[in-house]
Symmetry: C2
Subunit: 379 residues, 2 copies
């Protein structure tokens, strides 16, 4: 199967190519020049220790400069950004160069951030090799890295003009990575104007695709394609999250980022934190009389059925002082508006934003601690 979508973020076209195989390097180069309408001076490949073999053995990149980063969320720091910038400078890339990031969400975020500041912006192509990367990091232009213990404290908006999603790369994805990606996929399904994607996921189950089951693979690929479409359309309407449209994508994220920070970055995968956060958003919406119990149950039962951690407090918050750390991280959330936190909660269809004063003081903390009766009502 081949799918191609082109989104336009602030007049910048961003072309997503979904196909089974990896694109050879010459194809990437030529595609990028055709999209940019100008020659590429030199390329730099960026990968991590998990995707190094792709750059080395699959893309046909012999003799091209490349940069290998450590893998995982804990590597999403300035040291990694500096390594990419240095590799670019050593390879002699100018502003007419092209950074090609090959990997999952972390490689995508880091390569895109580095490209956005290298000589004030150079070319960027992402080859997304993980489910989380495809349904979240690669599309929409958010880049960044973690700093002072805060997720994505530093970052930019810098959409990649060209994104490949070689679906074959998912066949070898570790189960934990699959589960992380599925967390974001569920979240996106909740945002949709219909529950079609949510119902489709319910039929699929939480397992990674089997390379022998062609029909099953195509169903999963179609779900990813639908998710890319939903996210792309939302970002087109509000590329830099200045309005309310793009904020919808943050469903579950205010809770998730605070959990990731309080637990220590890398202790819980992003998608699992998001799944947990979506359950908390259902509880909050229910407590506020916004989320109907039936919708809350439909969402949380899927998440629970797929063996995500849904309890409050989260086991990683049970240690002394962790709830306090969580609340501090929440207060530092970058999605604040005029000094007030904003949460996204499910409606009967889709979602909506709420912020103080609609949320009474202490309600969020009671939800996190599992001290709210509604937590039992939803399941």
């Amino acid at each position: 199967m081949n799918q191609e979508y082109t989104f336009t973020f602030d007049k910048t076209p961003s072309c997503v190519r979904m196909q089974e195989e990896f694109p050879p390097i010459d194809r990437i180069w030529a595609d990028f020049e055709s999209i940019r309408g100008d020659a590429v001076g030199q390329i730099l490949l960026v990968c991590d220790t998990h995707t190094e073999y792709i750059v080395r053995d699959i893309l046909g990149t012999q003799d091209r400069p490349w940069c290998v980063l450590p893998s995982g969320e804990t590597a999403k720091n300035w040291t990694a950004v500096e390594a990419i910038l240095n590799a670019g400078k050593e390879a002699g890339l100018g502003r007419d160069g092209l950074f090609i990031g090959v990997g999952g969400g972390v490689v995508s975020d880091l390569t895109a951030f580095a490209a956005s500041i290298y000589m004030r912006g150079t070319g960027l192509c992402l080859v997304s090799t993980s489910l989380l990367g495809m349904v979240d990091a690669a599309v929409g232009g958010k880049t960044g890295f973690d700093l002072f213990g805060m997720k994505n404290l530093a970052g930019t908006f810098y959409p990649a003009p060209l994104i490949y999603m070689p679906l074959d790369s998912l066949l070898s994805l570790p189960k934990a990575e699959w589960k992380s990606g599925m967390g974001e996929l569920i979240k996106t399904a909740v945002l949709d104007e219909t529950d079609a994607l949510l119902e489709r996921l319910r039929l699929l189950g939480p397992e990674p695709p089997n390379s022998q089951d062609r029909a099953g693979r195509e169903r999963i690929f179609a779900s990813i394609a639908r998710s890319v479409q939903i996210k792309g359309r939302i970002v087109e309407a509000d590329p830099k999250e200045t309005g309310v449209e793009r904020a919808r994508l943050n469903l579950g994220h205010t809770f998730a980022h605070a959990l990731e920070s309080a637990a220590g970055l890398g202790q819980v995968s992003h998608g699992e934190a998001v799944a947990w956060g979506v359950v908390r958003a259902c509880e909050l919406g229910y407590a506020l009389g916004i989320t109907p119990g039936e919708r809350g149950r439909a969402i949380t039962s899927l998440i629970k059925g797929w063996a995500y951690e849904t309890r409050a407090p989260h086991p990683l918050l049970e240690e002394q002082g962790r709830i306090e750390a969580f609340m501090r991280a929440l207060e530092g959330d970058k999605k604040k508006k005029a000094g007030k936190l904003r949460f996204i909660v499910p409606l009967a269809q889709g979602v909506q934003a709420v912020s103080a004063p609609a949320i009474e003081a202490g309600l969020v903390e009671r939800i996190i601690c599992g001290a709210l009766d509604t937590s039992r009502l939803i399941y």
Copy 2:
């Protein structure tokens, strides 16, 4: 005198307020909210050891969070950026916050870069206190810092929506800073479609304004205002230097940045390097038959008359290996287009861009070494 200009860069309005006095902090806050059309959650003041007294004693900023950076070009590094980001986080700023940079070019570039990546972009106001800051760094949205010995290797385009130029701050400017700013002012004057600003500068002389000479001050202020206007109009036409329009502002800069890098960052002031680079651009243009000898003489005689270093090779390049370092820095220039260096050279009026193959191999090196006969012809 009060002047106000509003430029629009990629749909982002950027308002420049020239006035004699410093704006009080409450005025800055209110002005920014009115321009943004939305409330500011919290502010962070950024200054360096030279402008600390302004933040402490003049603006009325008691009890506001602030961050003091070391001063000078050598402080324009990631450590300084990190200090600003950390101060923002410690002060609890969200994306609805406002960074206010009070200082010259280095403080402007650093504060603007930090604002552009803090939570993917927060509010930015610049209070420009040096001549170089006013005529160069504050207007036009280029931000950045030096990395791996290369000027502005990392940076973004992030125009400040609000810029104050309190002209009183120029009265206490050290002579060396004045000379640096005047170098950029001469460069901008060469770009103008008429030589009116260049002729005006010739009448002014290279001295800083005397606080007693009101008429003299007003002439200088009018020259700064004209320079701000010329730069603003050029940037409006090509905000991200994707075309040729904004590249005109780089007159002398390809030479200047390579000199600054080869000499060691901070060894020569930016404006003095630019003045030296403009003379080299005149020589290059003359050698190529593009710059008329008369125009070359008019420009270089002003620069020489104001006691800028104009010789080739520059005294800082006389040490063993420095010419080679200069040529290497030149090769790494970020203004390369399709792998080729591009230079801006003066015409009878205004300037134009030239690149290889119009420039024969070795010509630039001969100019740098002073091995070109034309160097004598121009003066």
